[in-house]
Symmetry: C2
Subunit: 338 residues, 2 copies
DNA sequence: GCTCCGTCATGAAACGTTTCACAGAGGTTG
DNA sequence: CAACCTCTGTGAAACGTTTCATGACGGAGC
């Protein structure tokens, strides 16, 4: 299958291959007349540039890699969308990789992306794996960390301030007069859980409350609705102290399960218990009682990360590494409207 | 930046470049001794194959394109996940493209993917755009249609039977003794809405009901929770006939909004109105009253599509085009447990 | 009329692989 | 011992671009 190449175009237009290449890459170097002649030839022959050859010769590709834990997670989906939009605007293409939080898969993909000679990678590191950043750099690939704040000054990174989010949510509840709290979350080894909790505690301390009396932790195994329901049951069974008047869940799925179980037990939300979730997934607003939640600028996170990466690629010398931290935002709904 | 190439490896291992290439591509053609010597050299030099050169020479890339309407839509997210898993298992890489249902974007991406010389494309066609399938084929790219059933016998396609889904849901409601229905959906120009509706009507006819009396259409502008709530309000205001006893919504978001508005008005679900959604998104189960819904094998859809595509690529001659249609499945929950 | 300069176009060399025709070494067969 | 394999390894020719040194042409300045 002889694909028509630049040579055929050249012959058909009666010029040299160099000229065709110039028409493609530096149109201003070519006179109006020949340029249009070449363009017509391209059109007539249905010529399509071969990017492999282009990359090989020029030493740079038009692709970048995106490694996330799992696109099926709405958080990463939105991030991916942001990345893709920026990338397409800049004429680059995104190669999508799911590591499933596995270090092995992550390594495999990094290898593949190196073979592809992508311009750079955006990666949410699996676990606390140490990325072979230097090795990548050596191969001329830029690296930007996603959803991981800047513990490395020699790297660009983009993240959302989870501690601030926890604090924000708590201050909202404090302002409504609450003084008896619970924090529902998955294992605190999950960074996000731990940081959101820390934010909550900071807010409580800031309000002059004694942590030991003002807040209890309800820790469940998962971060889904089922676990949320379990947390609710545990609190309901916890007769001696009675229910807390305000609850912060480490994510919206937990909050949804929690709410359902509470409603079923006849507890009124927000009158008896005020509830705040985290992530502001689409369904937080669609729940039986719309849930107040902490929104993260996920799409923008992806956009910014892609822009940082492409900037670093385009201007490796003048590039200053940035650690960007976004601030979350509270979306108030009925679940705290008491 | 002189990346170390096959030549350096050859020199370092004291063999010819041809031999190194053989070690990489047909290890059995090389003696044990030299093979390990070469492998060691590769390791010591940190050599990474240049896929651009490889593709250029061999005429085939290791990439395939995936064009969806929007990854942020959970449906496509799951599909993408299926595609990616299969692809990575086969050593291929996925280039992700969002067309946003725009024909222009779709064309642009197809052009880019051609330049990349991807092995093939998986595409959910925007609108009813006619894909330039033949032009793509000419360039040696395989094409598989996603979520669009086989109106073209010369093409592989993968889809879910929406009509069957509508029928399934309706039969479930009929079996529970309902005889007064409503179908809540967005514009019927959306293929999915139209087909699900058709399935419902077929089931009703099959049960010997007269359509004119047994079912009303409630058509709203969107496919989200807000529109669902609007549909509910419209039915509530529709005093003369009273409420239907069973409602099928064209997707789960509609169903969630619908439910919320009904509950707020004091209508009991499922006692007063039974409710069925569509898509079985994760949150259907987490709603205030868990929603019975029609599940689609989205992940598997993606897997199958990717497999068909790769098969076609690997064996263009012996490949027989298939139009695969998946059957949806009903997941019964409390919203119809009356 | 001469030099000098800018504008356009040319042709060949590179980019890093894969592939292929071929060669040398050793073994087997008749 | 000649003829003929098989097993390994070689070297050079592609693949389709980009890039770069070079050249042709015509006009401006002196």
């Amino acid at each position: 299958m002889a694909t028509t190449g630049i040579k055929d175009v050249a012959r058909h237009a009666g010029v040299s291959v160099g000229t065709v290449s110039n028409v493609l890459n530096r149109p201003d170097r070519v006179s109006e007349a020949t340029r249009s002649r070449v363009l017509r030839a391209i059109d007539e022959l249905g010529f399509v540039r071969n990017d492999s050859a282009r990359s090989l010769r020029s030493g740079r590709t038009n692709a970048l890699g995106l490694i996330v834990l799992d696109v099926a997670n709405p958080f990463f989906t939105d991030v991916a969308r942001g990345v893709e939009d920026v990338s397409s605007r800049r004429g680059t293409v995104v190669i999508l990789c799911n590591s499933d939080d596995s270090v092995v898969k992550q390594e495999t993909y990094l290898q593949v992306l190196q073979e592809q000679r992508v311009r750079g990678v955006l990666v949410t590191p699996a676990h606390d794996s140490a990325l072979p950043v230097d090795a990548l750099r050596t191969r001329g690939m830029a690296v930007v960390l996603l959803d991981r704040s800047g513990d490395r000054p020699d790297l660009c990174s983009v993240a959302v301030d989870d501690e601030a989010g926890g604090q924000l949510a708590t201050e909202h509840l404090l302002a409504a007069g609450h003084d008896d709290f619970a924090f529902v979350s998955g294992p605190l080894t999950i960074r996000q859980c731990e940081e959101r909790r820390r934010g909550m505690r900071r807010a409580l301390r800031g309000a002059g409350l004694r942590l030991s009396g003002a807040v209890r932790d309800v820790q469940v195994s998962g971060m889904n609705a089922r676990s949320g329901a379990e947390a609710a049951r545990r609190l309901l069974a916890d007769g001696k102290k009675g229910l807390p008047s305000a609850v912060l869940c480490a994510n919206d799925l937990l909050a949804m399960g929690f709410m359902r179980e509470m409603l079923r037990a006849g507890v009124r939300i927000p009158q008896d218990v005020a509830l705040v979730g985290y992530d502001d997934i689409e369904f937080a607003a669609a729940a039986a009682i719309p849930i107040t939640s902490v929104r993260q600028p996920t799409y923008q996170l992806g956009q910014t990360a892609a822009e940082l990466l492409l900037d670093e690629c385009e201007n490796p010398e003048g590039h200053a590494h940035q650690q960007v931290t976004f601030q979350p935002e509270l979306v108030v709904r009925e679940s705290t409207a008491g």
